[in-house]
Assembly symmetry: C2
């Protein structure tokens, strides 16, 4: 939508030190920088190359010096503790986790219409990617800071949430970007929450949180705080803007001017999602030809993808897509990585004009995607996981 | 559907010792007994009275003597152990868990049609109920039998599944009813899996597993094995019929005569579900009157219900139902009990004839229900969680 076209950087340029970005990224906003991976490149590989992963920044990229970088841990049930980046890397065991990051705004553009507009950056399907993150476990760091567990391994019951603060600070409010996750996720030995210093085997790039990022697998990406420098254990969830006044969804009949944010819980785990990425609306294909469709499926909470259904008749009949073998090796309940899929379909011989291709997925809890976005419409266009459909344009095979 | 009308008991009556049942249960099969709670009674109380809970039996009710009843534990990573019912009750700490049981076949009748029939008992909305279960934790019993945990509390990696066997044995095959759950659920201190001997504060009724039943909160009821007398830890899931050849779902375009059961995982956690129970199709209401609608919502995996949307115009506009207060007190991720809802709606003044009432729910992972059952159709009509809709019949208020 035109009203959402990227604006030029502001005159007083806090963003001058932002890093260079890959020219292939589709830019939605320059300052702060927001850009997505083009569909044509999105599932070229199981692991998204670091410089092609979507960037979703809320503020200028902070300039962090690794030599002096520390992380502060404080709050209920822990000893106030400061750990340098060097200590973090040397005192704690390293873990690598392959986890998909998906912005809660991914596929927002497909929820936008003139009658019911949504507010935010107009992400297509590319605000998602799959990365090998390496770092230390948040669990180990909180235990080091003195958090107590009972004989079942359940943490101090006064601690219900873990709040992360980033080094990115708004120049106006002087407030850091912050957000929280439930303690049950943070301390679950199967939860795989990391404080990561590497992405795909190398230091994190500046845009993705150099030198340290919280990684919360199976949650919306906005909880994986970049440039994290403070961790606070608490009875309460974060009182920050992005926890309390954004990233919530409401009845599709809500009046956007009368939203009471206290009536909905903050988004954490992602619902089941999938999309077609190899083609876009209007792409031409020849009748009586074979077309290789590609895309991804992913579900939050570590729920494994068990099936992707593809239709080339607008949802009347369905074929099973072929699922990526590496993705299928993931353990039940800890399937943090996406499942790329492919399917070669035959364009019907006699068909001319519009061919409606639809994609929907199922996860191991047998949750499925809603058919239409109308049923999950919300003012910010968040977590659009309705069936993804595109219209191909069938020409005679002689063309 | 007529073809699914209950058959009379067979001549050689293995079922003669089955207990008496509450006359209000809507009977789908006499031998084995299968009956559901009528909608009019379903959400009268947060806790379902024991004699009104749906009964889903596969075999005759076994006659178990509590004085001699034992449970055998064996398999990978445990010492073969036999525990009497008395020891179970005296050696282990007791826990009470309020958990909803829902049959995977609930709402099957709404997935059945002449063109695409489904196979099984024609459950309406009442193969669900909410119960306080009291017993000992499966976790504690497996630890007692010698199952080892690592320093993070993760069990012996060779053990991936826990298989339950019931005392109910098929006279033809001599095979016990059996099923398994993942070890991650069994041993999770937040998983709340019980070996229960009480239902709503009293001994289990015969129909619900007297004297001992496995209770697996957040899973389809078929994994909560009644009359459990054997527990086997294993690398593999149960090889039994109900794990391997039933309780799986496939593409809606599958040929029912060509199902390859190895291509789908067994159902465990339930997806998001809701239904209207206060009214049925064709119920008369007066125009310009107030009508109190009632129903339930529930999701598997302990995922809390965050919203129930009600429409009285077939899904064009939506109102938020009022959610049961007790249900809302449940912790995130451990919301094992259903959420009864109510909403008083105004029947439009000018309206006559059909009023289409629709219900759909959202859980804390922001998963939602599919609009139409076509998209999730499967040959056995399992896990139908499509939007529930009923047509009320609006008469003039003078009637
Ligand atoms: Mo996001
Ligand atoms: Mo069931």
């Amino acid at each position: 939508a035109d009203r959402n076209r990227p604006k030029p950087p502001p005159a007083n340029n806090e963003y001058a030190k932002d890093p260079a970005r890959h020219p292939a990224l589709k830019v939605h906003s320059v300052a702060p920088f927001n850009g997505e991976t083009p569909g044509s490149l999105l599932v070229d590989s199981y692991i998204t190359p670091s410089d092609l992963l979507f960037v979703r920044n809320h503020l200028p990229v902070p300039q962090c010096d690794p030599a002096t970088y520390t992380i502060e841990i404080r709050g209920t049930g822990v000893q106030p503790t400061r750990i340098s980046l060097e200590e973090l890397k040397t005192k704690f065991k390293h873990y690598s986790v392959t986890a998909t990051m998906q912005c809660a705004g991914n596929r927002r553009a497909q929820m936008d219409s003139a009658e019911k507009p949504v507010r935010g950056l107009m992400w297509g399907c590319g605000a998602i990617g799959n990365v090998v993150w390496t770092g230390v476990r948040l669990r180990d760091v909180l235990l080091y800071a003195g958090l107590k567990l009972d004989e079942d391994g359940i943490p101090d019951v006064r601690v219900q949430h873990v709040c992360f603060e980033g080094s990115d600070v708004a120049s106006v409010t002087k407030e850091a970007y912050e957000s929280s996750i439930p303690i049950s996720k943070a301390m679950n030995p199967h939860g795989d929450v990391l404080l990561a210093f590497q992405m795909n085997g190398q230091d994190l790039p500046a845009d993705h949180g150099y030198p340290l990022r919280a990684i919360v697998p199976g949650f919306m990406a906005g909880r994986s705080i970049k440039w994290v420098n403070k961790i606070v254990t608490s009875e309460q969830e974060s009182q920050g803007f992005f926890q309390q006044k954004d990233y919530k969804s409401f009845s599709p009949s809500i009046d956007p001017n009368k939203v009471d944010f206290s009536t909905a819980p903050s988004m954490q785990e992602f619902p089941i999602q999938s999309a077609i990425t190899s083609h876009v609306d209007g792409d031409a294909v020849a009748s009586d030809s074979l077309v290789e469709l590609k895309g991804f499926a992913w579900s939050g909470g570590g729920r494994k993808i068990i099936r992707v259904d593809i239709s080339i008749d607008g949802g009347k009949t369905w074929q099973n897509a072929d699922l990526n073998e590496e993705a299928l090796q993931q353990p039940s309940g800890r399937a943090w990585a996406w499942t790329p899929w492919t399917l070669t379909v035959e364009v019907p011989k006699a068909h001319r004009g519009e061919l409606k291709v639809v994609c929907k997925a199922v996860d191991e809890s047998y949750n499925s995607q809603p058919e239409r976005f109308d049923a999950i419409w919300n003012p910010r266009g968040l977590m659009n996981n309705s069936w993804h459909s595109i219209s191909l344009n069938v020409n005679s095979s002689a063309n």
